[in-house]
């Protein structure tokens, strides 16, 4: 892990400014996910995700949440601004200490270096991915 990820401090507002997130490092996982759920949530070919400690995340504003059963058997919950729909944070019941950050939310993304693609089995051929290891489904330990 690069030392910078241990001391990273991130802040972002949603598109309308009614909600915000502040995160402190460490970042201990970075990946892309091509699962059908991530395609639906993002409207694009994959989600870009960084994992932080949920204790290091502060949210403000009125958020809606949506939960669904993930392919891994866990319940995945996404928190989004009720006014503009911007997703601020995701979480999984399998690891309640993990905060799943939508990387595109943050203006500075230079720190992000995904090291794997998961759920590559549902990858769309029009979606260009970096040259990193690709896995057909979920990987334990994420």
């Amino acid at each position: 892990m690069k030392p910078k990820l241990d001391t990273l401090e991130l802040e972002a507002d949603c598109a309308c400014g009614a909600a915000s997130i502040a995160v402190k490092g460490p970042i201990y996982g970075m990946f892309l996910c091509c699962c059908p759920d991530c395609q639906l949530m993002t409207g694009s070919g994959h989600a870009s995700v960084a994992i932080a400690d949920s204790d290091n995340v502060r949210l403000t504003g009125k958020l809606s949440e949506f939960s669904r059963l993930a392919a891994s058997g866990a319940t995945f919950t996404r928190h989004f601004c009720a006014n503009c729909g911007t997703t601020l944070l995701g979480g999984t019941s399998r690891r309640t200490d993990a905060a799943l950050l939508p990387v595109g939310l943050f203006r500075d993304q230079s720190w992000f270096a995904p090291n794997q693609v998961i759920f590559h089995r549902s990858h769309q051929k029009w979606d260009i991915l970096p040259d990193i290891p690709k896995y057909e489904t979920y990987r334990e330990g994420l």
Partner: protein, 133 residues
């Protein structure tokens, strides 16, 4: 003429499209990265009269760099990215490609705001690239 179908994550909003896309685009601007949470937004634009939407979306308006008003639609139940409208092209509607049941027909014709593209998000070099709009 083939019909394209799609829906949001929770199914409260679904849609049908007849006809072919007017334009297919990938945008890396700050606004598109923020609302998708990833490195870019991909949309296919159709004639509004070719699109039937079932269910109710919520909208959020913003002003584009050109000074036009963009109206972005999302599902208020699940937060999925759905549609966009722009006052500069009132007869067209953009649909987030990730919402289609089958998007194998999609291929971006243009890449916008390449200047804002993160290093970790590669592009197809054969596509027409614009540094800004």
């Amino acid at each position: 003429m083939s019909t394209k179908t799609g829906h949001c994550h929770c199914g409260a909003v679904h849609f049908e499209v007849t006809g072919e896309p007017l334009r297919m685009a990938q945008c890396h601007c700050n606004a598109c990265r923020r609302i998708t949470g990833t490195g870019h937004n991909v949309q296919a634009f159709f004639k509004k009269s070719d699109v039937i939407i079932h269910g109710v979306t919520s909208t959020h308006d913003s002003v584009s760099d050109k000074g036009n008003t963009r109206i972005r639609h999302f599902c208020s139940v699940c937060g999925s990215r759905m549609f966009s409208e722009n006052t500069a092209a009132p007869d067209a509607i953009g649909i987030a490609v990730g919402e289609f049941d089958d998007s194998s027909w999609f291929k971006p014709q243009v890449i916008l705001y390449n200047a804002d593209r993160p290093a970790w998000d590669p592009i197809d070099p054969s596509v027409d690239v614009h540094e800004f709009m």
